[in-house]
Structure formats: structure tokens, C-alpha cells
């Protein structure tokens, strides 16, 4: 089995030759290559080269055409502060308030901000890995893009005070995600990861997720599936157990588990959904390779009989992680 077949097997609960491993290596690929993170997230070709070098070094099962959480909001007019050694952040948000939404139009991914560079990375990665290794893109989920358009505090108060208006922001954010995700699929990714940390139950009540976020996520995953996405992969950090029951309805086929989630509990809630996780991200910085190996072995033991599992970290492997720790997770498979 190659990496892609292995992941397809995990998603469909067939028996892979071994448990697939997806290290959530994003900016760490730049650090590994000695490239400033600030350049990595602006240059699609550089990003793809770094990803391929990291793949060659670690031998895991997926590469990522993923820059940071500011790509969409920059394309929509937010002003970013860019630094050489870290991810950019929003200095001035595109929307002063939700009432300004009508000013915005869904950006053309071929022309707007860094979206074309991300698409370039997607094309290069797919060209290089073909159907051997999973090529993953990334879009922000509607809730997270809303916070990136308005600022988290303003967005959350808007959600509470002006739910109808906020619903329009979420609809717009979902349109942006669909457009960008479809462009990534056309550029060659096997699936766009939907990254939506602001939809975590640590941030919003689960009932709010059900009523506001779930219908929009359905739209995303349905559109991506129709366009040929290998699977719907949702990444929501934090203690997300209370929203897992909604995942199958949303079209989620791979659910990311953060480190704070009990894998056995997640198994019970999502018996037919492939799970990925859930080593503690900070362990890749602070722990030893032996710790990582032991934790990984524990997860493989937990999911050995079930299948439907991808060994991974609970969230991004921090850029400053120790390479030997990433290697230890990959070796544990």
C-alpha cells in the first residue's frame, strides 16, 4: 500500500498495511529547511519544496499546502503584520463590524492575496507526490474566518448580540471557503482540511455550533465531496466531544482529536468516523523521543482492533519542535 491507499483504507475502516501517520507539519517544514517562516508562508514554490524535504526526511503519509490562518482574511482586505520568524497576524481587520459585510466580495483564488501562491504550492505538491502521498490543502471554517475578518472579540459579541447579522457573516465565510477549497481541489489537493478552531466548544456553546456552524460546514463538505475530495476532514481544537455527535451529519469523515480528548471517549461517540490524533503538540518541543514513542504506542494499542485511525498530533506540530520527536512518532507506526 502507498500512503494514499493507506489513508483511504483508514477512512473506510478497511485494514491498512499499517496505521497511517500524518504529522501536522506546517511551519516546522520551514524551520527544518532553514527557511524563514515569514518567507515560507508567502512563496508557494518555497513552501512546496520545504514540504517535500520534510516528507523525504520523515517519511510520513501526507503533505500540506497550508500557510497560516490569515490567507483568506488578507485576500479580503485585512492588513497583516508579517515577521521573518513567525506566522503573520492581522493588524487591521477587513470588517470594522458586521454591517460592513456588503463591501466584501468572495475573492478570486487565482488573483487574491496569497491564495495564488497557495494554489501554486498545491499544484507542485500534487505533481510531485501524485497519488502516492496525500496532498492536503486548507480552508478556514466559517466561524474561524468570521473571527479573522472582525477580530475574535468583536465576532463573538456580534454572534451574541446580532445573530442574524452574524449568520450573514458565516454564510459569506462559507462561500469563501467553498470557493477557495474548490480551487485547491482543482489545483490538485486530494482534500482541503477544514480548520475551524473558533468553532470549538471551548469558544462557543455546542448548541450554537449546531444551529449556526453545522449547516455551513455541511455546505463545505458537500461541495468538496462533489468536487472529488477524498474525504471531509474537520480540525477543531480543544475539548470538542460535545460537538462530535454532529460530525457525521456535517459530512466529516476524518475528525481531528486534540490532545485533551480521551481517545476512548471519542471512539464511542464516533464509531464509524476515522479519527486522527492526538499527541500533545507541546510534547514535540519539550518531551523526549522515547516519550513520543511510548505515547504513540499507546494510541496504536487503543485503536489497533478498531481501525479508522490516523496517528497524528492533536494540533499543529510547533515549528520549533525537535526533529527526533517527529521521527519517533513516524517510527511508532
Amino acid at each position: 500500500m502507498n500512503s494514499l491507499e493507506r489513508i483511504q483504507a483508514a477512512v473506510s475502516f478497511k485494514k491498512p498495511d499499517r496505521v497511517p501517520v500524518i504529522a501536522q507539519v506546517f511551519g516546522h517544514a520551514a524551520v527544518l529547511a532553514g527557511v524563514p517562516l515569514g518567507e515560507y508562508v508567502r512563496d508557494g514554490e518555497l513552501l512546496a519544496r520545504c514540504q517535500l524535504q520534510a516528507l523525504a526526511r520523515y517519511g510520513y503519509d501526507a503533505v500540506f499546502a497550508l500557510m497560516d490562518t490569515s490567507v483568506e482574511t488578507e485576500a479580503l482586505g485585512s492588513r497583516l503584520a508579517c515577521r521573518a520568524d513567525s506566522y503573520p497576524y492581522v493588524e487591521q481587520y477587513a470588517l470594522a463590524d458586521a454591517g460592513e459585510l456588503d463591501r466584501l466580495a468572495v475573492p478570486d483564488p487565482a488573483l487574491s492575496g496569497r491564495m495564488p501562491e497557495l494554489l501554486k504550492a498545491a499544484r507542485m505538491l500534487r505533481r510531485e507526490v501524485g497519488d502516492e502521498v496525500l496532498a492536503v490543502g486548507c480552508v478556514l471554517g466559517p466561524m474561524t474566518l468570521a473571527t479573522q475578518l472582525m477580530g475574535a472579540e468583536k465576532a463573538l459579541f456580534c454572534a451574541a448580540d446580532e445573530p442574524e447579522q452574524f449568520g450573514r457573516v458565516l454564510d459569506f465565510a462559507a462561500e469563501v471557503a467553498v470557493s477557495f477549497g474548490l480551487a485547491q481541489l482543482a489545483a490538485g489537493v486530494h482534500l482541503p482540511l477544514v480548520f475551524d478552531p473558533a468553532a470549538s466548544p471551548a469558544v462557543i456553546p455546542p448548541q450554537f455550533f449546531r444551529e449556526f456552524e453545522l449547516p455551513r460546514l455541511k455546505r463545505l463538505f458537500s461541495a468538496f465531496k462533489s468536487a472529488g475530495a477524498l474525504a471531509g476532514w474537520l480540525h477543531i481544537a480543544g475539548p470538542a466531544e460535545t460537538i462530535y455527535p454532529y460530525y457525521p451529519d456535517a459530512g466529516v469523515e476524518i475528525a481531528n482529536l486534540d490532545y485533551c480528548v480521551d481517545p476512548l471517549h471519542a471512539r464511542q461517540i464516533l464509531p464509524t468516523t476515522c479519527l486522527d490524533g492526538n499527541l500533545k503538540p507541546l510534547s514535540f518541543v519539550e518531551a523526549t523521543a522515547n516519550n513520543i514513542a511510548a505515547e504513540s504506542a499507546g494510541l496504536l494499542e487503543t485503536f489497533g482492533s478498531r481501525g479508522g485511525f490516523i496517528l497524528s498530533s492533536g494540533c499543529e506540530i510547533p515549528p520549533e519542535s525537535k526533529p527526533e520527536n517527529v521521527a519517533a512518532m513516524v517510527a511508532a507506526r
Binding site: 463573538l156 445573530p163 507541546l282 510547533p318
Partner: protein, 227 residues
């Protein structure tokens, strides 16, 4: 301003000794700022002292929110809404100047390299409502500036909020620098999604908190010397 989100965060509040106070507690826990202010002003205009409103409504409401957080049922939105409602009531009761802080001085920041401040701002709101004097050093704050502020403001507590792991080396510098600057009794507490993955030993701080209420419990359980 009853809203669709607020209705989800309503919790049944058991009866208290005073029906009016009960109603204020209810609307505070709903995070309904406008109704909370109206209820509080109605109590005040009816002759209830400000201090009683704080003791019999705001404190119990915060206690109930704390209990929910302890049960891991909390979310930032709910805490923000309750915090905003409490702040609104206090401003309405004390329009000229807020009541003098009754507790210690806390300096608070997200450290240099970390530009996230949602969690930090929640800590500021809730700890202010609990009577602490908060000096907010903002986000992306160099360690030196944070410790300078602690010295200048005679703080007895330093709180650090962190959403990214790359600030951990800076977090480790806080206690040694504070000690060098003569803050021998200052307690340093860390929290936030990235920092709470680490132990207090790893971060070289006194405590790693799960939530703002966990910070407050720690400080109440480990009283320091007032500066």
C-alpha cells in the same frame, strides 16, 4: 437584548433569599447586559445598597459561572457575555469611578511574539469584577516591560496568557527577572491554550491555570503578602 446565543447559556438558578436578586443573577448568567443593568438600577432605586447588589447578585453569579467552568462546561463566549454584563452593572452602579479594588494588583500580558489577546482580555474582565486591580500590559509584550510594570505597580501577581508554544522560553524568564528586580514574593501564573499544555516546572512559574476561575482559586488558596 435577549439573543439566540444567550438563551443557550442560561442555567437554571436555584432560588435565593431574594427574588429580585435572583432575577439579577439570572440575567447576569444569561449574559444579558442591558437587562442586568436595568435590574440592578431597579434594585438601587428601590433602596438596595450597591454593596448588597455586588455581594448578593454579582458574587453569586460569578460563583455559578466558576462552578460551570470547574465542570468543564464553559466556553469563552459565555464567560465574555457574563463578564460584559457584570462590568456593565458595576459601571451603572458607580458611574463616576469604579469601586476601589479590594484585592491585590495583577499585571497581565501576552508575551512578545504572541498577538492573541482574547483569553487575556477575559482574565482582565473577570478578575477586575472579582476586585483585583489589573494592569494590562497588552499583547506582544516583552518580558522586561511586564516585569517593569510589576515593579512600578507594586504587583503581587503576574499573569501570562499564551496561545502559541514559541513564547515558552520567554515565560521561563519571567520569574528569574522578577526576582532580580526585587519581586521576591510575586506569584506568577500562566494559562492559555499553549501554556496549559505545560507543567509549572516546565514553565518555571508558580502555577498553570485551566481558566480564569482557576487562577482566582489558586490565588485565594495561596495568599501572598500584599505589596
Amino acid at each position: 437584548m435577549a439573543t439566540i446565543v444567550n438563551k443557550y447559556v442560561i442555567e437554571q438558578v436555584s432560588p435565593m433569599h431574594n427574588q429580585n436578586m435572583n432575577r439579577l443573577i439570572d440575567v447576569l448568567l444569561e449574559g444579558d447586559q442591558a437587562r442586568a443593568v436595568a435590574e440592578a438600577m431597579s434594585l438601587k432605586n428601590g433602596g438596595v445598597e450597591d454593596e448588597r447588589i455586588i455581594a448578593d447578585a454579582i458574587e453569586p453569579a460569578m460563583g455559578r459561572l466558576d462552578a460551570k467552568c470547574t465542570l468543564e462546561q464553559f466556553n469563552l463566549l459565555e464567560i465574555m457575555l457574563v463578564g460584559r454584563a457584570v462590568t456593565g452593572v458595576i459601571r451603572a452602579l458607580y458611574p463616576d469611578a469604579p469601586p476601589a479594588p479590594s484585592r491585590e494588583t495583577v499585571v497581565l500580558a501576552s508575551l512578545e511574539g504572541d498577538v492573541h489577546d482574547l483569553g487575556k482580555n477575559i482574565v482582565r474582565t473577570i478578575m477586575t469584577a472579582k476586585g483585583y486591580r489589573i494592569v494590562d500590559c497588552g499583547k506582544n509584550c516583552p518580558v522586561e516591560n511586564l516585569v517593569d510594570a510589576a515593579v512600578r505597580e507594586e504587583a503581587s501577581i503576574i499573569c501570562i496568557s499564551g496561545l502559541i508554544t514559541s513564547v515558552i522560553p520567554s515565560v521561563r524568564e519571567v520569574v528569574p527577572l522578577a526576582r532580580r528586580r526585587g519581586l521576591t514574593m510575586v506569584r506568577v501564573v500562566a494559562g492559555g491554550a499553549a501554556l496549559k499544555q505545560a507543567s509549572a516546572d516546565t514553565l518555571n512559574v508558580d502555577y498553570v491555570a485551566d481558566s480564569v476561575f482557576d487562577v482566582i482559586r489558586y490565588l485565594e488558596d495561596h495568599p501572598g503578602e500584599l505589596s
